[in-house]
């Protein structure tokens, strides 16, 4: 009985971890999609806006979007590390 309880708790932990992973992935992918799509789709309309001397769409396509992508990956690695750590801690606690 104790064994199966432990097992279902483990499964619940796993499911919770996966839900959190999926949520983080979805949010970051949305940011990824909007960055690329808005930059390109409204490039002509935003041409008159200026950012440190560059026209905004040109800056975004040449540098801004890429830097946002880098930030997305960095954020993902950092958050996932914490999620994984929390999962491991919970398992250890349960075993103790």
């Amino acid at each position: 009985m104790d064994k199966s309880l432990e097992r279902s708790a483990l499964l619940a932990r796993r499911a919770a971890h996966w839900r959190a992973t999926r949520r983080l992935t979805a949010i970051l992918l949305l940011v990824w999609l909007l960055t690329g799509f808005l930059t390109v789709f409204y490039a002509r309309e935003l041409l008159h806006l200026n950012l440190f001397g560059w026209p905004l769409p040109f800056y975004m396509a040449a540098q801004g979007a890429s830097l946002i992508y880098l930030a997305i990956i960095g954020l993902y690695a950092w958050r996932m590390r914490r999620l994984d750590q929390a999962f491991r801690d919970a398992i250890q606690e349960q075993q103790a």
């Binding site: 970051l28 990824w32 930059t39 040109f58 992508y69 880098l70």
Partner: protein, 682 residues
């Protein structure tokens, strides 16, 4: 943990020493150039020194251990794995052609920058960490385990399909790399094109043949260092020259408005208009000729003959007679040939008669509808490049080589970081060189053309890399009179910036490193797919580890020679070949990889249907719409160019996978168990 740390410290020491040694080598060569060493020698020294270096690393890292050979022992620290992946990624197209493409196309060329960086988000979020958790050797390994079926549960069909896709994708890509190796080697050392190819091939082979993934990883880190130094030095120099700021990525914000002003002034210049009118007139003449075929072909031939006779009778200068003779010789042999030749000439002249498009202007076109088409093509291209990046086997293969899942995530971060060091410089370099040419070269006297123009114009006589012809005969260079091949821009930058020849050699070595590092990774991806997935997993599962590695090495040799032979046939230009590879990878592998992780219900049948549908639609569209492959613009859907065929292939693959998975039995328990396993943290 402490051994890992010690390993990292040792690696850092080695590569710092290497960088120092490389800097000393550069300084020594610069001093030798001051002392009057001839240019050819500098070219030779750079080429042979770097090739010997890569071979040495390959020999030191030789191995016959399976884990070392296939995945570098799974102990490459994240930073170094990132550097190696960046070198794997930065191909000849990125290093040589991309900046030139931006120079010619302005904003519209940025699709490659956005697509090739955005793809890493997909790699990091959707694929790489799960592959690392799975922890085998190749991409077909993962797909076969995830989509296993039948009594034996080996998923052989999915594996074979995945191997097929890997080979087709990587092979087109590797041919483009080897082609570039031949090009650079022949231009800088004067050896024959095919000799250049086989020289490059030798260095690739010594490296990956002896040590597999282990050797190419450590070589690629060294190659990345050379690539980054070679790319940044000329860019920084130009940046100091035009903006008094050594950081080109920041400085070109100041140069861009100056470039726009310059473009505006040239646009108003009556002399420029005069040259463009001459092209427009030539285009009209060709149009009239095409309309009047076949009679106009006969008239033209007689007129040319008459002109030559007249010159001879008049005892005109030898130069004029030669020209008239040459014209008659090159005159089309039949009305049909005349049609193709004249249509090409018409297109070229119409293009050159177009007014200057401002560099930062997105989607320039005469009307809104055509501009929208350009925008849609831009979006489609970005989409294909992103998904293609996330499905290239030689990049994904690298997620197996780190010590843990977390390190894999961090390694993708470092990969993009190191790629961005180059990719953020490329648009800057394009703007800086453009400004330099628009302000310094345009307006000079023909008698005082800088030497680099004549040097690069004479490198390839048949299709000149740069040509400047005084069309309106006023003795002054107009912008409309300059034609530059995009491939020459980066290679000629040091001379345009007025740097010593050592830097030109360095840039060539950088281009060579970029092409070689990518070719290394690709060849390994192909030979691993053949030896590990076909030979070991399908043909002979009882093969000993020694035998597997030997087979892999032999296959590598064979594939390398076939690729070199294909490259020596000089197929269509580099960038379009690479574009084809991306769309095919995206359509075939991406849906199966992502659904395999994120959708439990995806099964064997769905995967097979999805891969076939994606590949089929993508290939059909390319054949249908690409003039290179026998189709034409008439076959385009929604006016999308064939390079972005993946925009149709990926949805087709996804849909087929979804529908077929739903109407067939759910996957076996073992497959679902695998999905749960790769989702769970370590």
């Amino acid at each position: 943990m402490t051994t890992q740390r010690a390993f990292f410290v040792r690696l850092r020491k080695y590569y710092l020493l290497f960088t120092g040694g490389f800097a000393a080598f550069l300084v020594a060569l610069a001093m030798l150039e001051q002392e009057g060493m001839p240019r050819v020698w500098i070219g030779y020294l750079f080429m042979f020194a770097t090739i010997i270096l890569y071979a040495t690393i390959g020999v030191i890292s030789r191995t016959s251990n399976v884990t070392e050979y296939y995945v570098a022992g799974r102990r490459v620290p994240a930073v170094f794995n990132g550097m190696a992946t960046a070198a794997d990624w930065i191909s000849a197209a990125s290093f040589i052609s991309l900046a030139g493409g931006l120079y010619l196309n302005g904003f519209d060329g940025l699709a490659f920058i956005m697509g090739w960086t955005g793809g890493y988000c997909l790699v990091a979020l959707l694929i790489a960490p799960y592959l690392r958790k799975f922890g085998q050797y190749t991409i077909p390994d993962f797909l076969a385990a995830r989509y296993a079926s039948g009594a034996d549960g080996r998923g052989a069909l999915v594996r074979v399909l995945a191997v097929g896709a890997t080979i087709i994708v990587s092979f087109t890509y590797v041919v483009a790399q080897i082609y570039a190796v031949g090009l650079i080697a022949s231009r800088f050392t004067g050896v024959d094109f095919s000799v250049g190819i086989f020289l490059g091939l030798a260095s690739i082979l010594v490296c990956s043949f002896l040590g597999g993934m282990r050797a190419i990883t450590w070589t690629q880190v060294a190659q990345y260092i050379i690539i980054v130094v070679a790319f940044l030095i000329p860019a920084m120099w130009l940046s100091v020259k035009h903006a008094d700021n050594p950081v080109p990525q920041i400085a070109y914000g100041k140069v861009l408005p100056q470039l726009s002003a310059r473009e505006h002034r040239l646009e108003q210049d009556p002399k420029e208009q005069e040259v463009r009118d001459i092209y427009a007139q030539r285009a009209r003449n060709y149009q009239a000729g095409i309309d009047g075929l076949p009679a106009s072909w006969e008239q033209g031939r007689q007129a040319a003959q008459k002109q030559l006779d007249k010159l001879r009778q008049r005892n005109a200068s030898l130069f004029d007679i030669r020209n008239a003779e040459r014209y008659l010789l090159a005159y089309p042999k039949s009305p049909d040939e005349a049609r193709t030749l004249w249509e090409n000439a018409l297109a070229v002249n119409l293009k050159r008669a177009e007014p200057i498009t401002p560099h930062a202007q997105p989607f320039p076109a005469p009307d809104r509808a055509q501009s929208d088409i350009k925008r849609n093509n831009f979006l489609a291209l970005v989409f294909c490049m992103m998904l293609g990046t996330a499905a290239l086997p030689h990049i994904l293969m690298r997620s197996y080589t780190t010590p843990s899942v977390h390190e894999t995530r961090v390694s993708v971060f470092w990969t993009l970081f190191f790629i961005l060091l180059i990719y953020l410089t490329i648009p800057a370099l394009a703007v800086l060189v453009k400004y330099d040419i628009y302000s310094a070269l345009v307006g000079t006297q023909y008698a005082q053309l800088p030497t680099w123009v004549s040097y690069w114009a004479n490198v390839d006589k048949l299709s000149p890399l740069i040509s400047i012809v005084d069309v309106n005969r006023d003795g002054i260079v107009q912008l409309a009179e300059i034609v530059i091949d995009p491939d020459v821009l980066v290679l000629a930058t040091p001379e345009i910036a007025g740097l010593p020849y050592v830097i030109s050699g360095l840039v060539a070595a950088g281009g060579l490193a970029a092409a070689l590092s990518t070719a290394d990774g690709l060849l390994l991806a192909i030979s691993n797919a053949l030896s590990h997935d076909i030979y070991y997993k399908v043909v002979d599962p009882t093969a000993s580890t020694q035998k597997r590695v030997t087979i892999s090495k032999l296959l590598l040799l064979a594939v390398a020679f076939i690729a070199a032979y294909a490259a020596s046939q000089k197929p269509a230009d580099i960038l379009s070949l690479v574009g084809i590879a991306f769309s095919l990878a995206a359509s075939t592998l991406f849906p199966a990889l992502v659904l395999g992780v994120f959708w439990r219900r995806a099964n064997h049948y769905g995967a097979v249907a999805g891969m076939l549908a994606g590949f089929g639609v993508c290939l059909y569209y390319m054949l249908h719409a690409s003039p290179l492959l026998g189709g034409g613009p008439a076959g385009q859907w929604f006016h999308i160019a064939p390079i972005a065929a993946g925009i149709f292939g990926v949805p087709a693959g996804l849909l087929a996978n979804l529908i077929v998975s739903c109407i067939t039995p759910p996957p076996a328990r073992r497959c679902v168990g695998l999905v749960d396993y790769i989702r769970t943290p370590e």
